[in-house]
């Protein structure tokens, strides 16, 4: 049986093997996570695997700990056991979390101790070999009063059909400040399930900037739990879909803490025959007085065969709050296009300028200049590819 092989090949600690085993047994009893207006129940998302993928992380630094998660189980057993699929995301929440826990085959662990400020962004690059399922875990623990940026690039190498299941857990202790930026570029033949969640404690701040540039079918759950009083999160998602791609994105903020602030800002561009559903979920729990939850979900359709939806969902159980939402589904503004073209700029360049303007709002708020630049390049490339397809068809 595959799970036993995991245990013997990596010297996994007993608690971990037991956790894998328990999750494996739960898998069939649990249902898929719910996503409004997006049905992915027929997707093959849970293949078994027995291959562990070791991750080379940048050389260690004195200020913080960054290492392969399997090594961390030996080096920092208490911390990994305390936080891995146990505090931020729980292994028994649904079929995907259970599958992830049972088959996790790659991962990294980052711990920034209390009162530590890391000036330079901490960067990691994860590569999936398309011949293997990629069940990746990033566990980030931000100690009290710590402050740092983390940049994650994830991409696929090869064109084989496979599955990616990527989980990121961020534990933000009181007064910490975490800026997380990601560019996801999973391949066309990779079906992905992405789950990123933060536990934000008192007066802590988590900033998410996510460029979802996958080329294959994707389900994404971006979650922020504002548990602490004065906890704050800004969530920015830029998404481009093309080809026959199907993508569903749930971006959720839950305000538990008094005076907690959570803002969602999502922009999607839908090309060719692809489909993109943005659900923005703002949930304010009773007792979270003075909480603030704003969200904007906007998608732009670049082709008449594209499908898109932007659904704001507000669930408010407390009276003394500020909450608002804006959503739109539209096409490239013909007036803007005409204006740019009337100055001699060709249609394709003009289209890209209008789209950049549409995404600009979210792009400019990405804290790292380097990742912003990289993301703009990826966007330009994706748009140019999409335009070529449109011309040839």
């Amino acid at each position: 049986m595959t799970l036993e092989k995991f245990a013997t090949t990596t010297d996994e600690p007993t608690w971990f093997t037991q956790k894998r085993q328990a999750s494996f047994e739960l898998m069939d009893k649990l249902s898929l996570p719910k996503m409004q207006r997006f049905n992915f129940s027929s997707w093959q998302l849970t293949p078994s695997t027995e291959t562990i993928i070791k991750t080379n992380v940048p050389t260690a630094c004195d200020d913080y700990i960054l290492m392969d998660i399997f090594d961390a189980m030996t080096a920092y057993p208490e911390m990994v056991q305390k936080y891995f699929m146990n505090k931020v995301i729980k292994s028994d929440e649904n079929k995907m979390t259970a599958y992830h826990t049972a088959f996790m085959n790659q991962g990294i662990f980052l711990y920034v101790p209390e009162n530590t400020v890391v000036q330079k962004p901490i960067e990691i690059e994860l590569k999936q070999d398309s011949h293997q399922p990629f069940i990746s875990h990033v566990l980030i623990v931000a100690g009290e009063n710590s402050k740092f940026s983390f940049i994650q690039r994830t991409r696929t190498e090869g064109d084989a059909k496979s599955v990616a299941n990527c989980v990121v857990e961020v534990m933000a202790m009181p007064n910490s400040e975490v800026r997380y930026a990601a560019v996801d570029e999973m391949g066309e033949n990779v079906t992905s399930y992405l789950s990123r969640r933060a536990y934000v404690d008192q007066n802590a701040y988590v900033d998410w900037s996510i460029g979802l540039m996958n080329s294959g079918n994707t389900v994404a759950d971006f979650d922020t739990d504002l548990f602490g009083e004065g906890a704050h999160s800004e969530i920015k998602v830029v998404d481009i879909t093309s080809g026959q791609q199907q993508e569903g994105v749930n971006t959720r903020v839950t305000n538990y803490g008094k005076h907690s602030i959570g803002n969602i800002n999502q922009r999607g561009v839908i090309m060719d025959r692809s489909r993109l559903i943005f659900n923005g979920i703002g949930h304010i729990i009773k007792g979270a007085s003075g909480a603030n939850a704003e969200q904007q979900n906007r998608v732009m359709m670049m082709s008449s065969e594209a499908h898109g939806d932007a659904n704001p969902i507000l669930l408010i159980d407390e009276n003394d709050v500020l909450a608002g939402h804006a959503a739109s589904v539209g096409q490239v503004d013909q007036r803007q296009l005409y204006y740019l073209m009337s100055r001699g700029i060709d249609r394709k360049t003009a289209q890209r300028m209008v789209i950049r303007g549409f995404l600009g709002d979210v792009l400019v708020s990405i804290p790292s200049k380097a990742i912003r630049k990289e993301l703009i390049q990826t966007i330009e490339r994706k748009l140019a590819d999409g335009q070529t397809v449109a011309t040839n068809s």
Binding site: Y339, S342, G344, M353, R356, G360
Partner: protein, 263 residues
């Protein structure tokens, strides 16, 4: 020298909802050369803006008859951007706002669109030219780092149209009511910009309701348009006469059976 020729132009606009179409231009003839400034005056709803938008290639305006020739070549089959690169420029009454694209970036893209791939304008040349024109138009450098027209006041938008004109240097500029909503100081600045373009390689067609603008930009030729046609052509004196007698006076003098909207 370049030449713009408009022959027997008939244009209709279609109301998609009502499934009706209405003829706006009913046979417009116009000939202009670089080195000349023409003005088109006429009452509201007479087709002045339709004419400029049709020349530029706005596709909501449907040409049913006629031709538009630039240096003897018909431009009817050319899309908007190609017409622009051939030398046409339309200063719009209501310029679009585009977030995320700075004014400077846009200006460079527009200039480079006219130049071959291996001969793009250098940053130094661009900045030199930009600074010169900003000064001429009494605009601050900060304007160029703002997003294109976003949050610009009416007057700032008009100035920005003229800044583009000066940077792009087209053969023919169609200026659609660049005087509307401008106070007298702004009007002088905008006129100064247009006048600085005067020369053998530049022609303009100025569309306006009022004679006032023509005090600052002296036209060589004045056309009066009513009910989709040019009904009278003359020199700068004609604009003055119109100011004195009004459109109704001219209509009656010409014996035209035309309803003026404001009658």
């Amino acid at each position: 020298m370049a030449e713009l020729l408009i022959k027997e132009l008939h244009v209709e606009v279609t109301d998609e909802e009502k499934k009706t179409s209405k003829e706006i231009l009913k046979g417009v003839n116009l000939e202009m050369k670089t080195g000349e400034i023409h003005a088109i005056m006429g009452p509201n709803g007479t087709g002045k803006s339709t004419l400029s938008q049709t020349i530029m290639g706005q596709k909501n305006y449907h040409m049913t008859h006629g031709d538009i020739l630039l240096d003897g070549q018909s431009i009817l089959d050319m899309p908007v951007d190609e017409r622009a690169r051939k030398g046409l420029f339309l200063a719009m009454q209501y310029p679009a706002e585009i977030q995320g694209v700075t004014n400077a970036e846009f200006l460079r893209a527009a200039i480079n669109a006219r130049r071959p791939e291996n001969d793009k304008i250098s940053v130094m040349d661009f900045i030199k030219e930009l600074d010169k024109n900003l000064e001429l138009l009494d605009m601050s450098e900060a304007m160029t780092e703002r997003y294109l027209n976003e949050g610009f006041s009416g007057g700032e938008k008009k100035r920005n149209e003229i800044l583009q004109l000066l940077m792009i240097k087209p053969s023919f500029a169609l200026l659609d009511e660049i005087d509307s909503g401008l106070d007298i100081d702004a009007l002088k600045v905008v006129s100064k910009g247009v006048n600085s373009m005067r020369g053998d390689n530049f022609g303009a067609l100025i569309i306006t309701h009022y004679q006032r603008l023509l005090n600052y930009i002296k036209p060589d030729v004045v056309h009066i348009m009513m009910d989709g046609r040019i009904v009278k052509t003359g020199d700068a004196q004609l604009a003055q006469k119109l100011e004195d007698e009004g459109y109704a006076g001219l209509r009656d003098e010409l014996g035209l059976d035309v309803n003026l909207i404001d009658d």
